[in-house]
Amino acid sequence: MRKYSGRSQETPKLVNNSRSMNQTGPQLTLTPPNQRVRLGVKKWLKIKRTQDVLETIAWATVVFVAAMFFLDGGITKFDNLTDTLGALSRLTALVGTDLLLIHMLLVARVPWLDKYYGHDRVTIAHKKLGKPILYIISAHFLFSLVQFALQDGKSIAAELLSLVTTVQDMWSATLALVLMIVVVISSINASRKKLSYEAWYIIHLLGYASVLAAVPHQFSTGSDIAGKPLQQLFWIVLYFFVALNIVWFRILAPIFKNLGHDLKVSAVVRESSDTVSIYLTGRKLEKLGGQAGQFYMLRILNKENWSKPHPFSISAAPNSRFVRFTIGARGDFTKALPGLKVGTKVFLEGPYGIFTEERRTREKVTLIAAGVGAPPIRALAESMAARPGDITILYRVRDYEDAALLNELEQICRHRGFRLHILAGKRGQAQSWLPEHLTSEPDQARLIEMAPFVSESDVYICGPAAWTHAVEKTLTRVGTPASQIHAEEFAW
């Protein structure tokens, strides 16, 4: 593992010439960059190894429940139709519940998952698991219903009625399934487009109710838990582990953190025609933690917005004076931000994400930003350990005159000796991520021209999804290994 120190630098004042809105922001001072960083392939291997361990544990729980089912003689029950249905019903219930608990853990924003996968990949995994789990649990419902109906010689409807009304805890289990179906339907892409975020969020909270309603019938009527100490221990530990992680990391930890820091809006500054910076101050900001490139879920505690968290990257390296978000006007919430009153209290959840120097393994770095993706790139440029010439920055903007944070990036680059390329202009061909006037040559030729070390550097890309994918394609063409390409997907 190689280490090296960046050159120590005095921190110069940046001239803040951005057009002021409510009031001028605090005089901008650069935070001293990180002095050292671990590099080398071992760092990457360590992350991969931990990912393998975590995934193996998750998979092992599924294998465990299935193996315990088989050990209990589950496989002998396949000799006639009703028995087969019963065995399948038990197996699908066990596997489905186990996956459901993993699914819930994935969205609890636990730091020990975020650190190794990043918020985006964890959320994508959560999304991917949703539908399969519903299918497995529904299969459990149908198998047991048909099995009971065949056994008692009743119609399906009559059997369902008698199960729900007479068997212990069965009504709440049925309710749980109905809730689960509602949650999944509200989350498929077609309905997400029609629902507002708030409506979807409230429906999604029913997922917790669904799991709680399903718990009793597993312990009271399930034949795979009661009286089997090992299984009992396994399920109780699993339930408690997931519940504690959710309650602590999702609810209590952010509350304690915000009580301690007492964050308020201290300034709102216009950065470009459609971008504003929000400065926050509070107590003991040096203890807030976080790294350049990470993001927070920001809630503005006023009447309209307290219930709506929005993710924003910090646009300046963490320091003891302020927390800054630079936000482009894209939706109703962001368009109203320039009117934000100074002194408004805010609530931060986070920091999250792995778009940080933690992922860096090479000496050279290429930072590539487009439009609204500039804030984390700006923070990384400020804080990364580097000697002059180590870092190359490409900044894609529509209009040179109206680019947020451009002035700051220029000053950082001038001061720290980094190369900065502004790619201003209209969009070129559909597949190109470069502006129109540069598309006379292939993207990869332009890229090597601007960033000669790109294939041996760590590349951090932040921008709209389609644009990011175009950049990634070009990077693959110039031979940058996938392990050195870092991009954060906006998965919310």
């Binding site: 991969k48 990912q51 393998d52 995934e55 193996t56 998979w59 092992a60 294998v63 299935a66 193996a67 315990m68 088989f70 050990l71 209990d72 003689g73 589950g74 496989i75 002998t76 009703t82 028995d83 019963g86 038990r90 099995q147 009971f148 056994q151 008692d152 010689g153 009743k154 059997e159 008698s162 199960l163 009304t165 007479t166 068997v167 009527t221 399930g222 034949s223 795979d224 838990i225 009661a226 009286g227 089997k228």
Partner: protein, 199 residues
């Protein structure tokens, strides 16, 4: 997951699943033989020992061998009991003693052995309807025999009773899992067992 880890983990889990399925199958077969053996022994000597049925049947045969001159088994049993009184108790004779006390439970009983007759539990919950009445013999706090006096159920769930009997004896009480597809019957059985033990 990296490719190598993935291959390893999937092979390992396949192995675990196959092994557990096979062991489960083997275990289920032994259980079946045990249950059959237990019923046979019960029919012959009205006994189901707390130890494995093979042990009790060996015990029974060893009893009959020295007493082959005597005509009936009951005399043989009496003789052994007297032998036990005279000589030092061996492991086999202890087993025998239990067996004896169980078989003669209706008439005589050894100091430690108690017979509990439970009340009839009528259950009609949802798809299942029936009655359960149990007679339980305990030695100290150990359940040594459970006889199903009345055991009716719907849709072939009567088949659950032998399993319930062996589970109850293994658990020495009611803390064992309900049999799937016979949840209500299992619960009624447990209730009957509790009622018997309370008497």
């Amino acid at each position: 997951m990296r490719k190598a880890t993935k291959t390893f983990v999937s092979l390992a889990s396949l192995g675990v699943l196959l092994a557990s399925a096979k062991t489960g199958l083997a275990l289920a077969e032994t259980n079946n033989t045990l249950a059959t053996a237990a019923t046979t022994t019960a029919a012959a000597t009205d006994t189901t020992g707390s130890t494995s049925s093979t042990a009790s049947s060996t015990a029974a045969s060893s009893t009959s061998t020295p007493a082959s001159s005597s005509s009936s088994t009951s005399t043989a049993t009496k003789k052994t009991t007297s032998t036990t009184a005279k000589k030092a108790t061996t492991r086999t004779t202890t087993t025998k003693k239990t067996t004896t006390s169980t078989s003669s439970s209706s008439t005589t009983s050894t100091a430690a052995s108690v017979t509990h007759v439970g009340s009839t539990i009528h259950y009609s919950n949802g798809p299942a309807i029936g009655d359960v009445k149990l007679t339980v013999v305990t030695v100290g706090s150990k359940i040594t025999s459970i006889t199903v006096n009345i055991g009716t159920a719907t849709a072939g769930r009567e088949a659950a009773f032998p399993y319930l009997v062996s589970s109850a004896k293994a658990a020495n009480g009611t803390s064992f899992g309900d049999i799937s597809r016979a949840t209500v019957t299992s619960e009624a059985f447990k209730q009957a067992l509790r009622s018997a033990l309370a008497n």
